[in-house]
C-alpha cells in the first residue's frame, strides 16, 4: 500500500556533473518497494515548484528501512533537491505504479539502461540476483563520468558492460550496439529504461528475436495515483484509448509499446 512519509535523509552525494544519489530513511515506504515502481517526491515546501516529481526507486534496503534515488538535475525541482542535506526531511509518496515482472529464476536477464534510465534497473538487478537469475547490465552514458551506477551494480553482483558515446570507458558508441543476435532467445528476458530512441531499438531487437521484455516509460505527472489522467500515453500509434503511465505503468510489456 503506498503512503506518504517524511524520509530522513542520511546520505546525499553528487556522483557526476548534475547527477546525485540521495538515501533516506522511510521504513514504511521501503517495506513496500518493488523494482520499477517510483516515488512521488516533493522537491520543496513552497508553491514553486508545485507538483511532486516522479523518481524511480534506485535501491531500497527493507531491513534498514532506507531508499535511494539516483537523479539528474534537469530543472527547477531537481535543482532544489540538490540543496537538501543530511538530517533534512524529504516528503515522498509511494511506492507508486506497476513495477517490473520478475521472470523464472532460470532465465537470464538483460538490463539495458541509458543515462539516468539505469536507476530502476539497479533495484531490479538486486531482486533478480536474489531470485537466482543470471543478470547482465549494459549501461550507456555520454562519458565515463556519467556511468554512475557501476559501483552499486558490482556491490549487488550484477556484471555490467559500460558503453560511452565518447569512448572514454568501455565500448565506444551506443548501448544498443551491443545487442547481438541471441543464441537462445527463449532463455532471455530484457528490461530497458532510458531515452526513447534507445528503448525503441531495444524493443525492435526484442521483437525481432521474440524476447520477452519490459520497458519503463516516462510522462509528465500531476497526481501519480491515477486520478488526474495527466500522464496519458497511447501505447501504439493507432490505439484509440490512452494508458495512464503512473498507474498502468510506468512498466509495460515491450511488445505493447510502439515508439
Amino acid at each position: 500500500m503506498p503512503l506518504q512519509e517524511n524520509g530522513l535523509v542520511i546520505n546525499h552525494q553528487q556522483v557526476a556533473q548534475d547527477m546525485y544519489i540521495m538515501e533516506f530513511m522511510a521504513p514504511a515506504v521501503a517495506r513496500e518497494c518493488q523494482p520499477g515502481q517510483f516515488l512521488h517526491v516533493r522537491p520543496g515546501n513552497t508553491n514553486d515548484p508545485l507538483l511532486r516529481r516522479p523518481l524511480s526507486i534506485y535501491d531500497a534496503d527493507q531491513e534498514k528501512g532506507s531508499i535511494s534515488l539516483l537523479y539528474r538535475v534537469v530543472g527547477a525541482g531537481t535543482s532544489l533537491m540538490t540543496g537538501i542535506r543530511e538530517n533534512d526531511y524529504i516528503d515522498i509518496v509511494g511506492p507508486l505504479g506497476r513495477g517490473f515482472t520478475l521472470p523464472a529464476p532460470s532465465k537470464t536477464a538483460l538490463l539495458v539502461g541509458g543515462g539516468v534510465g539505469i536507476a530502476p534497473l539497479v533495484y531490479l538487478g538486486r531482486a533478480l540476483i536474489q531470485r537466482g537469475c543470471q543478470v547482465t547490465a549494459m549501461m550507456g552514458a555520454a562519458n565515463e563520468n556519467q556511468l554512475v551506477a557501476g559501483d552499486r551494480l558490482l556491490e549487488i553482483g550484477v556484471p555490467f558492460l559500460p558503453v560511452t558515446m565518447d569512448g572514454s570507458r568501455g565500448y565506444p558508441g551506443m548501448v544498443t550496439d551491443l545487442l547481438v543476435p541471441p543464441v537462445y532467445p527463449e532463455e532471455i528476458v530484457i528490461y530497458t529504461c532510458g531515452p526513447e530512441p534507445m528503448m525503441a531499438k531495444v524493443a525492435e531487437y526484442a521483437q525481432r528475436y521474440d524476447i520477452w521484455g519490459e520497458v519503463s516509460l516516462e510522462e509528465h505527472m500531476a497526481c501519480g495515483v491515477g486520478a488526474c489522467l495527466g500522464c496519458a500515453r497511447r501505447l501504439k500509434a493507432n490505439d484509440e484509448a490512452y494508458v495512464k503511465v503512473c498507474k498502468d505503468g510506468p512498466v509495460f510489456n515491450i511488445m505493447d509499446v510502439e515508439f
Partner: protein, 308 residues
C-alpha cells in the same frame, strides 16, 4: 469549545455535506484513487471526474504542464461515459458514507439534458455540478459558461430534467462574473461552484511549439487563488446563492480566506496532487480554527470580509 458543540455541516443549496471540504472534479478520480491516503468518509463531498454521455478518450499528450505556482491541464474530459460511471465507479462511493456530487459536461444543451435525466433517481448522488466550460458545438465552440443567455438556458434545462440540486461551475474567463452568476440564478441554480480553471498556455522554447498538444489548457493551483477570491467576493456581494469556492487552496488559511470571501463550502483540486491527504488535513484544520476562535458554526464567517 468542545468538538461535539461544533457544527461543520454545510447546506449547499440542498446538497448536504458533513463538513465544508469537497474535493474538486477531475482531481480526485472517483475517490478510490486516494483511499490509501485519507479517510474518504472524513470529507464533505467527493465531486467525481466530469462525466459525458458517451465515453471520451480525451486529448493526446502532453496533457499537463507545471507553471509558476500552478499547472496547466488539457485532459479533454477523458472519462468512461455515464453508464460506466454509474455501474462501475459510483458503487464504490455509495458504500462509503460520503456525499457524492456528479459533474456533467456536454457539447449541446440536449446532452446536458440527457445526462441530468440519466442521473435522475440514481441512488447515492447528492447533487449535480454542471461543468459549463465546454465548447458549445452548436454555437461554434463558444463556451457555454461565457455567455449569460447560454448559462441561463443550460441551467434551466438541467433543472427541468432533475430533482437534484444543480450547481453550475462558473468559468473565470469572463468579463463580468456577476452577470454570469445572475444568469445561473435566473436559470434556477441551487448553488454556484467557483472557479474553474483560467485558460492559459505554455511554449516549449526548444521545439518552438506549444507544450500542450491541445495548445491551450486550464490553469489551476495557487497562482489563480487571487482571481478566485475576487470573483467569489464579487458574486457573494450581489448574488444570493451558496458558493462552493476553490482555486488554489493549499492549506487551512487558504480555505478560511475563501469562506470569508463568501464561500459556504470549499473545494480542493490541484492541492490533492501535492498532498494526497490535504482535504482531510484542511477539514481538521477548520475544526481547530473553530475551537481556537470559539466558533460553533462556520457559517458565522462565510462572507465576513465582504463589504456589501
Amino acid at each position: 469549545m468542545e468538538k461535539q458543540d461544533m457544527d461543520l455541516t454545510v447546506n449547499l443549496g440542498g446538497i448536504i455535506m458533513k463538513n465544508p471540504v469537497a474535493v474538486a472534479s477531475g482531481t480526485f478520480g472517483y475517490g478510490r484513487e486516494y483511499e490509501d491516503y485519507l479517510d474518504i468518509n472524513g470529507l464533505g463531498a467527493v465531486i467525481v471526474k466530469g462525466t459525458t454521455l458517451e465515453p471520451r478518450h480525451g486529448n493526446p499528450p502532453v496533457r499537463i504542464f507545471e507553471t509558476a505556482a500552478g499547472m496547466l491541464n488539457a485532459i479533454g474530459l477523458e472519462n468512461p461515459g455515464v453508464e460506466v460511471f454509474l455501474n462501475q465507479h459510483l458503487p464504490y462511493l455509495i458504500d462509503k458514507d460520503v456525499t457524492v456530487i456528479a459533474n456533467i459536461a456536454g457539447n449541446t444543451i440536449e446532452e446536458y439534458a440527457a445526462l441530468a435525466a440519466r442521473l435522475e433517481g440514481c441512488k447515492g448522488i447528492a447533487g449535480i455540478e454542471l461543468n459549463i466550460s465546454c465548447p458549445n458545438v452548436k454555437q461554434g465552440g463558444l463556451q457555454f459558461g461565457t455567455d449569460p443567455v447560454m448559462v441561463r438556458d443550460v441551467v434551466k434545462t438541467v433543472k427541468a430534467n432533475t430533482s437534484l440540486p444543480v450547481m453550475p461551475k462558473l468559468s473565470p474567463n469572463v468579463t463580468n462574473i456577476v452577470e454570469i452568476a445572475l444568469a445561473a440564478q435566473e436559470g434556477g441554480a441551487d448553488a454556484l461552484s467557483m472557479i474553474n480553471t483560467l485558460m492559459g498556455m505554455a511554449i516549449n522554447v526548444q521545439t518552438r511549439k506549444p507544450v500542450l498538444a491541445n495548445v491551450f489548457g486550464g490553469l489551476s493551483g495557487p497562482a489563480i487563488k487571487p482571481v478566485a477570491l475576487r470573483m467569489i467576493y464579487q458574486v457573494h456581494q450581489e448574488v444570493d446563492l451558496p458558493i462552493l469556492g476553490g482555486g488554489g487552496i493549499m492549506n487551512t488559511l487558504d480555505a478560511l480566506e475563501f469562506m470569508m470571501a463568501g464561500a459556504t463550502g470549499i473545494s480542493i483540486g490541484t492541492g490533492n496532487f501535492v498532498n494526497p491527504r490535504l482535504a482531510y488535513d484542511i477539514m481538521v484544520g477548520l475544526q481547530e480554527y473553530m475551537q481556537e476562535n470559539q466558533i460553533n458554526n462556520l457559517n458565522e464567517i462565510v462572507g465576513i470580509a465582504v463589504q456589501k
